[in-house]
């Protein structure tokens, strides 16, 4: 399906710069990387999480524990979907108890995905705290949830959507503001 592009929020270089800035902010707020761990929400949040980990390693010289979360089992909208969404694996290969977790997603909108992710993380233990980093905060929250690290805040009008493209799955890097595709 062709997306009608209205504007480009990030190009390739802008995206890299933002990920670098978010990485520095995370280190600054945590006062180093001790006790820090990163969990990305599938699909694109996980990719951003990988890039942030790489960036933090280049700054601090150490690997961070990295987890990947599939929140499908925790969704609150099962009853409204015609077909069961495909499940993918959650991989959190470290103990999260007493860790400072940074949860990472590409876009935050209603906050429902974040709520589901928080519930999913709690199934793995009791972290010391969970903070959240997103590439784009597009407003429109339906739950009392706010991100701690934000690449860019914009408010968008009805009929518009954010499209995040990551090289690893989309063969190109960039964040676009697009017209919402009308369902046929």
């Amino acid at each position: 399906m062709e997306l009608k592009i209205k504007s480009k929020l990030f190009d390739e270089i802008g995206l890299t710069r933002t990920i670098t800035r978010l990485s520095h902010e995370i280190i600054e707020k945590n006062k180093g990387i001790d006790n820090l761990a990163v969990i990305g929400i599938r699909t694109r949040g996980a990719i951003i999480a990988q890039r942030i980990c790489r960036e933090i390693k280049s700054i601090e010289g150490r690997d961070l524990p990295l987890g990947i979360l599939d929140i499908t089992m925790y969704r609150d909208d099962f009853r409204n979907m015609l077909e069961q969404p495909k499940l993918q694996k959650t991989e959190i290969p470290f103990n999260i108890d007493d860790k400072n977790i940074v949860l990472i997603d590409d876009v935050i909108y209603t906050g429902r995905t974040t709520r589901a992710a928080l519930e999913a993380i709690m199934a793995f233990g009791r972290p010391k705290c969970i903070r959240m980093a997103v590439l784009v905060d597009r407003g429109g929250r339906e739950l009392p949830i706010q991100p701690d690290y934000v690449g860019r805040r914009i408010s968008i009008s009805p009929g518009e959507e954010i499209s995040v493209q990551m090289n690893e799955v989309d063969d190109i890097d960039g964040v676009l503001l697009v017209e919402r595709p009308t369902s046929p």
């Binding site: 089992m73 009853r79 069961q84 499940l87 694996k89 959650t90 991989e91 999913a120 199934a123």
Partner: protein, 316 residues
Amino acid sequence: MSSFTLKHLLGLEGVSRDDITTILDTAASFREVLDRPYPKVPTLRGTTVVNLFFEASTRTRISFELAEKRLSADTISFSTATSSVKKGETLRDTAQNIEAMRVDMVVIRHSASGAPHFLSKCIKGTVINAGDGAHEHPTQALLDMMTIRDKFKRIENLRIAIVGDILHSRVARSNIYGLTTMGAQVMLCAPSTLIPYEAHKWPVQISYNVDDAIEWADILMVLRIQLERQQANFFPSLREYHNYFGLTSDRIKRVNRDITIMHPGPINRGVEIESELADSDKSVILNQVTNGVAVRMAVLYLLSGELKSDDEKTKS
């Protein structure tokens, strides 16, 4: 994802390769949940499942109940010993009464082949077969396939010999349908009295010599000799069965290959399989049990999708 086409899981006969693959992929995701410190997800919150066990079962019933609870479904379990069936109620009446209480899914085990099919015609909810007579036991075959896939990363072109009482085995029937659909080669091995008449219609090889089967197979799926059927004289004695068809370390050692051993349980140690072999590193019997919970979670999850599409249909 190719969409899941089943409304009930009554058996694996006629179930497509895509649907089986979807179940196995989904089960792999649920397998991870079982290793978490809090192994529970809210996925089926608000869904009610009744387990109707008209025939004795330990493993399958516990496995289904655990799967339902891990998914946060509301569950009710019922076995014949304590139910109105003792008072002469028919299956249809039992089912319709349960349905009148607004149940979404029914898991049924029954000694009569076809009971789940019958049930699926008289109630609106989704029916899952947990074993019916000598017909099918689809979730057992699915967990066997999941265990095979875990170990070999594929099912296609593997050689699987099913050894034992094929005649009375619903596990064998479900595995024959499932494994051949997935592209595996299947051999049945048993005394001729325990090979069913219809076996020649199945796409399988038949052997009456267990050493030939061991020589041929990558995987040996050993079935329980059903002691309760001994009076019928299908073979002279348990000892003779063990001597001719029992799986022993000596027999396995004769072939110079890595062979995997499976058994759906419960095991008769010293009859169909030597005790030591059942506990050896060739055996994946306990992996089968763990995978059973994950597979049943996957089946419940995928079939619960059908409940919603029914809601949608009635709305529109």
